[in-house]
Symmetry: C2
Subunit: 345 residues, 2 copies
């Protein structure tokens, strides 16, 4: 048997039907390339120049509410607008159609200095409650068929403001990454009458080698087919199509595991760990999505240290995503990190 801990191989992503190239032997490669800036920042709880702090003015002349709890508003520079008339264009080999939607900003806390790992669990729960509210209200609209909740954390992830916040882009069509999962989940459901992700989670709970944290209702693991070096997935053990059907107990548990994972992230390189995270849920197009099982993924760019990231460039753009450390190595490292935030000692 070939040892996949030491030999290049590809792994299959059951949720997308795609492959990732894994080159474990390549971890020995020296690095002489780009080093990112180290972000050592102490932020005040209120920053008068921050356009997300309560009571401040935003671009476009709007004024923020004096919010005390997680708060959302429509993005002033929305990539998607809801007043776009429906139109399709086709001419020869050119094909386009109008797209409409709503983009919102979700402030996680009025406190400018916080991030998810250092927020109280009860306050993270309020963020989840706001996500639920937004998902429900946006999803209800007839011209919104998919709601993408996500967070870009850190300047390296294109985040232009350190105030703790995420975004929601809701739109008419089903985005590409979700379509892939629709297909895979439905196919498995039709053949097995069970949740593909649910069955996968059962398998991982037995094998244990890719687990990071397990709570009563949730699990956090490095998926077998992870692309980013320290990619993590959080998912409920029980099948929920979306976040709306979580019980209060489950929601609290979800908040706990988000805190646990992001604490480990910060502890990894003793830095405020950058990532993009997103929740994939059943489309809101009214179709039968019995097969769906929501999950939240974290795609963090850092590889070796707080300043050296993994570049998804030439080969990865033109051929296939590629990683060096295996999912099992990454999981072991994360699992063994302390459960308390490194700044709280």
């Amino acid at each position: 048997m070939v040892d996949f801990n030491d030999n290049s191989h590809r792994r299959y992503n059951i949720l997308t039907g795609e492959w990732v190239l894994v080159s474990p032997h390549r971890t020995k490669r020296p690095w002489q390339g780009k080093e990112e800036d180290v972000v050592v920042e102490e932020r005040p709880s209120y920053d008068p120049s921050c356009y997300l702090c309560p009571g401040n003015e935003r671009a476009g002349g709007h004024t923020n509410e004096n919010y005390k709890e997680p708060w959302s508003f429509v993005n002033d520079f929305a990539a998607l607008k809801n007043d776009v008339p429906q139109a399709k264009f086709k001419s020869g080999l050119l094909k386009a159609e109008s797209e409409s939607g709503i983009c919102k900003v979700v402030c996680f806390s009025p406190d400018h200095s916080l991030t998810l790992p250092i927020m109280e669990v009860s306050n993270i729960e309020k963020v989840i409650a706001l996500w639920q509210h937004e998902f429900r209200e946006l999803g209800k609209k007839t011209d919104i068929n998919h709601v993408q909740i996500f967070e870009n954390k850190g300047a390296i992830m294109g985040c232009s403001n350190p105030h703790p916040h995420g975004q929601i882009w809701a739109q008419r069509t089903i985005p590409q990454e979700v379509s892939k999962k629709n297909k895979q989940l439905r196919e498995y459901w039709n053949n097995n009458k069970s949740s593909l992700l649910g069955d996968y989670i059962k398998e991982e709970l037995e094998l244990k080698e890719r687990l990071i944290v397990e709570t009563e209702f949730f699990v956090a693991l490095v998926p077998y087919w992870a692309v980013w070096p320290y990619e993590v997935m959080i998912a409920p053990k029980k099948q929920h199509r979306n976040i709306l059907t979580l019980s209060e107990e489950e929601r609290l548990d979800y908040a706990k595991i988000i805190k646990a994972v992001t604490i480990k992230y910060d502890n990894l390189f003793k830095t405020s760990f950058p990532y993009s995270s997103g929740i994939h849920q059943a489309p809101t197009d009214g179709q039968d999505w019995d097969s769906w099982h929501f999950h939240m993924s974290f795609y963090p760019p850092l590889l070796r240290s707080a300043t050296v990231k993994k570049f998804m460039v030439g080969y990865e753009m033109f051929a296939t995503p590629q990683r060096d450390i295996t999912a099992e190595m990454a999981a072991k490292t994360l699992r063994n990190l302390a459960d308390t935030h490194y700044t709280k000692k």
Copy 2:
């Protein structure tokens, strides 16, 4: 009719079957986020500490040839190795298989100070000749079914050494991005008995609004479905499955258009313009690839200036690639730039 120059829409990529979200109205968005370092470097023609300069020692104790022309060697830290035994692994929902291949480094010139836009056309032609040689020799091997030629240019694109060079990763399986194109090209070929890309190029040559440069045998354009802000595709007007069938005249012309495009790139923000480029060609798996039409794409990250790039993050990772400026705006800007390098005035 909805004006797509001012309204969000999605465009279809005929080569991959995927969509890109375009939000032209979003160009008005202010930017307060990350600024990249400006790279103002004067490099010597020979750098004693560069592991790619002629005669120097590389990591791993190898010594470079005293090369005078473009020169290639096997990557010392190859992600793909050819001594990996074939094996497949399946257990429950986990699926993997070993992958083998060869990774090479292609030095474009012995001169450490050069880049493609400031190299002589005759020397770019020699680089193409070396690509042809490598593609032929690697492609011949029975366990190599795909050969990916690419370049990561600039530290921002994960390039760890400014010496002008690219890479080749050749492997047993067909990478994901190429599989998508195989499918689309073949389907069109079966239905129309002509080259999908060839027919698209004819259409663009008539419409003209996305053209950047046209030479006798080649065209450079911003594809209708471009994802990166200043993405460009170079392709031969006549259908060639791969670079091996180019006549000497065509090869010279290919060198000219590479120089022309990269000069415009450098002129855009008066900087050595970073990008990842890659040549997609027919697989070397011995199958019938009559439908293929090779093309070279450039994916450059810069958006607004030499220091502000486009981030493909949260929404783009979880949903669909998104761009602000339209392909037509980008093409117009590039087309109108000078044909002479900004440093040569």
